[in-house]
Symmetry: C2
Subunit: 208 residues, 2 copies
């Protein structure tokens, strides 16, 4: 609630308290990513975090505040991850190369690394309006990142000039986001998925 954290005690590395808060948040992300907003019981989250439900209220003002935080963290981290991966791309890489790296980073993060990202994506359109404000700001930044990647690629002549890159971008993000609805790591390889999605961009948007 407050902008200031509850005055972290002498703040040793990771106080027990902070760890518990983290455990609750992680549990919420996990349950939310699996069961969705409607199906997420505070009691499930508590169980997964190894506490009783009321303990959650020591760290979060309400169920919705907890959910909002998960959503925001999810959106935020995906963006950071993709930005980091892009920052590591060699100077001489082409705009199209950067686009393909972004596809790779987005998919791998969403599927392997983060319940938060999955929770964020799956529930974005299903939580009450008020919970969308803060996460939406993150998503706007993320959208811009992708827009810039596409603009650069199109200006460099690596994306067809007649392509509507706004629509294409939204379709692509949709394709990648929807993956969380069907992906099963046991039946398919992540590498193949990434390669296919990259092909969708390289051929679908790239110049012949």
């Amino acid at each position: 609630m407050d902008v200031t954290e509850p005055a972290p005690p002498p703040t040793r590395a990771a106080s027990k308290s902070a760890q518990t808060r983290q455990r609750i948040l992680d549990a919420a992300a996990e349950v939310l990513s699996r069961k969705g907003y409607a199906g997420t019981r505070l009691s499930d989250v508590a169980a997964a975090a190894g506490v009783q439900a009321p303990a959650i209220y020591y760290y979060f003002a309400s169920r919705d505040e907890l959910v909002e935080e998960v959503m925001w963290v999810g959106a935020h981290r995906v963006r950071l991850h993709v930005e980091e991966r892009l920052a590591a791309v060699p100077e001489d890489a082409s705009p199209m190369d950067r686009l393909l790296v972004a596809v790779d980073a987005h998919l791998r993060y969403e599927l392997q690394l983060s319940d938060y990202a999955t929770a964020s994506v799956r529930n974005a359109g299903h939580v009450p309006e008020q919970l969308r404000v803060r996460p939406a700001a993150e998503e706007a930044l993320y959208s811009r990142l992708w827009r810039d990647l596409f603009v650069a690629a199109q200006q460099a002549g690596q994306v067809r000039a007649d392509l509507d890159i706004n629509i294409f971008r939204l379709l692509l993000l949709g394709a990648m986001n929807w993956v969380v609805e069907w992906w099963n790591p046991r039946t398919r390889s992540l590498d193949e998925l990434v390669a296919t999605a990259q092909g969708m961009v390289r051929h679908g948007a790239g110049v012949a």
Copy 2:
């Protein structure tokens, strides 16, 4: 609940009763498509249908049964619509042409014609397990339809031989389904969307 309908009375064209049932179902589809499973109140549905909430129970055994029916109808109708459009394609059309018609049909139906389809797509992953059984059967049929389209196109040499058409198909359906999350008919033209999605297939999957 029973397999047999409640013994349709002398069954004139559309009895008043059937109309009311229909109105409730339509209302449910509309609310579900807009607010999602979690946000759909039976009272909202009732209001939209112009009845009091308990009246719903005369036609449906429970909230969940109502939701299930909407989901099933949505999945069913999309499939029928796409099948109809495909049936109307000239004999001499190529497999790729048929694929593009399917893209067109799917998008237009989902965005213009049917709250049921939108409700079905948006909530598929958010309703409790038990509600997914019947709709899932429909979706399986629909999946097969698309698989067949892709197989035919690949065998005809119109889709790159090295493309994993299963993954590509799922990505494409995801891109199209996710459209309901961002589409705003006031800011973009449906024609452009369809054209861009078709381009994604023609270039993304098609032979160079």
